[in-house]
């Protein structure tokens, strides 16, 4: 029998670390790691020394101090008495808001222009080409400045909507409810009653129903080949419950009793006498609540002069009332006494507070409120849904700029699908729209999506130019005013950088997930 023995194991020699490829890679990595550590140590050590020399400490406590500045676009509650952390959060929300809006709009513009550029209509394709080249070859910052300036100079200021002495205004609101001015666009807004959550549950149920319908139709088609119509049934599933729910819930919420609680009022006063006694009413309005809208209508109908201070939610408004920042609030009849007790318990509170005698109800489950031109003082619109021009201009500039790049991507994507594909689809008897939907688009998307992701990332990063139009994104709040006021550059820029990094990673994660789901599965 022959025995098979392993070759004698060679002893490890240190020179193998350099000459033996098996070990050399380890050597290289260890050296790289050491160099990396040294570099980091050097940087951090320098930073520590520099901070010590400047007498600064590395900490984030400045985030807890009062910000003291105002922000014009507030998707979440904020006022200048809140902290720098809150201001930074508002800035982050603004960044995310404009990036999301921009990505959607840029995709729409990009797809339309990309298709138009392929059109055989000479004028249209030339115009699309001019657009694409014009936007791609000039710095975004210039476009942002130019579009903002075009907005301010090309549109009329709000005062043109105010009637003059003869009752004639220079401009009329579109359909009596939408005004486009160089300060912003004002349009009808929605307000919700306390029962609106039920309506949203109904909506979710409806959508679930539609998804179910579609699944079922697909299953039937897969099994029998019969195409089951989905659109009309889906519409029915959506509309019928919603309409029914709306009326039913409105009937309930219109029975909800509401009362005014007024600062400086004696009990038993009604609104008119309170107005007379206190001079000017400062209404704590929560524009997103139906009760506020109803109360304002009531006050207008009783011809009481009032001024509104807008707040985000109940807590906000009640705090403002306790602090005396507004004087009149509308609450559920059942909650009024508790509120009064709570406010009276606030230290330093010494004004009389009472429930007014007027009887009100909460409005319908969803109320629409319209922007109205003020009659006195600075001409401006009150109420309604307001979008300020910095946001619109930045949004448009970002979408137009990125849209130009996306148009090229879309064009390349469509051109990448070979003609044979559509011819084959036609040969199978598919109609043009189905050819597009089932054959061309899925293939084109595979080419389009990866570069599209990087365009979305670019747009998000480019939104940091918001400061050029006075839109307060994270760069303007945390990376601008906060750093300026507190002198905490290191911490502020670090936070801002990490925020952008996290946002970028999140976007590419989402898009890559979508992309991976749609790539060709190679086996």
């Amino acid at each position: 029998m022959s025995t098979l023995t392993d070759p004698p194991k060679a002893a490890f020699r240190p020179s193998q670390l350099i000459y033996d490829t098996r070990y050399r890679s380890i050597t290289i990595q260890v050296v790289a790691l050491i160099l990396l550590c040294i570099a980091f140590y050097w940087l951090i050590n320098n930073t520590v020394q520099n901070l010590a020399n400047l007498g600064k400490e590395f900490n984030f406590s400045f985030l807890g101090s009062r910000a003291g500045y105002d922000i014009n676009q507030r998707p979440i509650a904020y006022d200048n008495s809140m902290t720098h952390a809150r201001a930074a959060l508002v800035g982050m929300t603004n960044t995310i808001l404009v990036s999301a809006l921009g990505c959607i709009m840029a995709t729409i513009i990009g797809v339309i222009i990309g298709v138009l550029r392929l059109s055989n209509n000479w004028v249209v394709s030339r115009l699309a080409a001019v657009y694409v080249e014009g936007f791609r070859n000039v710095p975004l910052l210039l476009w942002i400045i130019a579009i903002f300036a075009l907005f301010t100079e090309g549109m009329d200021p709000p005062n043109t909507f105010r009637p003059n002495a003869d009752g004639i205004a220079q401009n009329e609101m579109f359909l009596g409810s939408v005004a486009v001015t160089n300060q912003g666009t004002f349009m009808p807004g929605l307000a919700w009653s306390s029962l609106a959550w039920i309506l949203s549950l109904v909506l979710i149920a409806c959508i679930a129903g539609i998804v179910f319908l579609r699944r079922r139709a697909r299953a039937i088609q897969a099994e029998t080949g019969r195409i089951v119509p989905v659109f009309l049934p889906a519409l029915g599933v959506l509309i019928v419950p919603m309409v029914l729910g709306y009326f039913a819930l409105s009937a309930v919420s219109q029975r909800n009793d509401q009362v005014f609680v007024a600062l400086g009022a004696q009990s038993g006063m009604d609104l008119a006498s309170y107005a007379e006694a206190s001079g000017r009413i400062n209404f704590c309005s929560i524009p997103s609540e139906a009760s506020t809208i109803n109360a304002e209508r009531y006050m207008q109908s009783t011809e009481v002069n009032f001024r509104r201070g807008d707040f985000f939610g109940d807590d906000d408004a009640r705090k403002a009332l306790a602090a005396g920042n507004c004087s009149l609030i509308i609450v559920d009849a059942s909650e009024a006494d508790a509120l009064i007790a709570e406010i009276e318990a606030t230290p330093l509170f010494n004004e009389p507070i009472a429930v007014l005698s007027d009887q009100l109800v909460e409005g319908r489950v969803v109320e629409v409120h319209y922007p109205v031109m003020t009659e006195r003082g600075i001409p401006r619109f009150e109420g309604g849904f307001q979008v300020r021009n910095p946001l619109i201009a930045l949004w448009l500039a970002l979408s137009l700029y990125t849209g130009a790049f996306i148009a090229e991507i879309v064009r390349a994507g469509i051109l990448a699908v070979s003609r044979g594909q559509s011819e084959a689809a036609f040969a199978l008897g598919l109609r043009p729209n189905r050819t597009m939907r089932l054959v061309i688009l899925p293939q084109a998307l595979r080419v389009i999506v990866p570069p599209l992701i990087s365009q979305f990332l670019n747009l998000t990063k480019n939104s940091s130019l918001a400061i050029a139009v006075g839109y307060m994104d994270v760069r303007a709040t945390l990376g601008g005013i906060t750093i300026n006021q507190t002198g905490r550059e290191l911490e502020g820029i670090l936070l801002m950088g990490m925020f952008y990094l996290a946002l970028s990673i999140a976007i590419s994660a989402v898009m890559n997930f979508y992309n991976n789901r749609n790539t060709l599965k190679e086996r």
Binding site: L54, I378, I467, A468, A476, I481
Partner: protein, 339 residues
């Protein structure tokens, strides 16, 4: 301490590394020129002309300091800074002094560790509105859209003012005066707020200045002045006393036209003599030549001349002296004695 930097190796003459050290005056003298931080452009205070020569009120301050040190008002390099970069530039030693209409505040002095060397302009935040708005007081601005020039104390003052008066407003923060002006003129803001001097200067260049009014409320104190780093009092003294020399010169009637005659021989006024170095050794105490103040005054004139030449009533900007008159004439401009 000084260290050779690795990057130093890659730098060629123009990029030569400079280091912040404790003795700024020595560094400046060794370098042969003063690095002075100014704004990237503010009407009347600092702006480059078509040939790249900087002019303006703040620029005059820099030139005076350069003249006091070198006897040469052009031995100064102007470093444009933004509202955000100015303090870092000063703290890191990139610039030796900052003359960029910077408000003297507690936190800048104590927390950010800068030394303000006096006040060369007393300013305050004001409002400008179109006349047709019919507003007479800032308290009537409820609900107004307000254009603000950012990067300064302006946002904070504004927020405080509206909060104390319990009125609402819509801020539109804008980076530069030029942009804000365009927004305001097109009616995209109802009100424009920044330092009153800036407002006046801006209004002066409008096509129809009479269509716009400055509201009477001045909502903040903005003492503007040159500043240097903490911890180098000798250097701080040079800047401080150059400013004081300009102010004293106006008070004593020493101007750029007569300064050379007055400095030629001792005069009857001992303070003039001390100022101009014909008596006493004030210059040597500062570590400068005896005729340092003479040079500083000859560079661009005394305080009053600088004011009149750059922002005064005979310029397009047309600011009145107001608070910035000499204390003898009811203003706040006051220099400690040269003694």
């Amino acid at each position: 301490m000084k260290r050779t930097v690795f990057f130093g190796a890659l730098t060629v003459a123009g990029l030569a590394a400079s280091m912040a050290s404790a003795a700024t005056l020595d560094d400046v003298k060794a370098r042969g020129s003063l690095n002075c931080g100014v704004t990237t452009g503010l009407v009347g205070f600092a702006a480059p002309d078509a040939n790249g020569v900087w002019t303006g009120f703040d620029v005059g301050m820099c030139r005076a300091v350069a003249a006091a040190i070198f006897g040469d008002p052009s031995a100064v390099e102007f470093v444009p800074t933004t509202g955000q970069t100015r303090f870092t530039a000063l703290a890191s030693g990139e610039i030796d002094m900052l003359a960029r209409n910077t408000t003297w505040t507690f936190s800048r002095d104590v927390d950010l560790k800068f030394e303000f060397n006096g006040v060369n302009y007393y300013d305050g935040q004001g409002f400008m509105v179109p006349k047709e708005l019919g507003v007479n007081s800032a308290k009537d601005l409820d609900g107004a859209t307000v254009c603000i020039q950012t990067g300064t104390t302006t946002e904070l003052n504004l927020a405080d003012f509206f909060r104390t008066n319990n009125i609402s407003y819509e801020p539109v923060p804008i980076e530069t005066n030029a942009e804000a002006q365009q927004q305001y003129l097109a009616g995209a803001c109802d009100v424009y707020t920044t330092d009153a001097s800036g407002l006046a200067a801006t209004r002066a260049t409008f096509e129809n200045p009479a269509d716009h009014v400055l509201l009477p409320e001045i909502i903040s104190k903005e003492p503007l002045g040159p500043l240097v780093r903490h911890g180098d009092s000798e250097w701080g003294d040079v800047v401080r006393w150059t400013l004081n020399a300009l102010i004293t010169a106006e008070e004593l009637g020493v101007t750029s036209t007569n300064v050379n005659d007055l400095a030629a021989a001792p005069t009857d006024n001992p303070e003039v003599n001390r100022l101009l170095g014909t008596e006493g050794e004030l210059g040597a105490m500062l570590g400068l030549d005896a005729n340092w103040a003479q040079n500083a005054i000859a560079a661009g004139g005394n305080y009053g001349e600088l004011f009149e030449k750059n922002i005064g009533e005979n310029t397009p900007i047309g600011l009145a002296r107001g608070l910035n008159a000499q204390w003898t004439e009811g203003g706040l401009i006051y220099s400690p004695p040269f003694r």
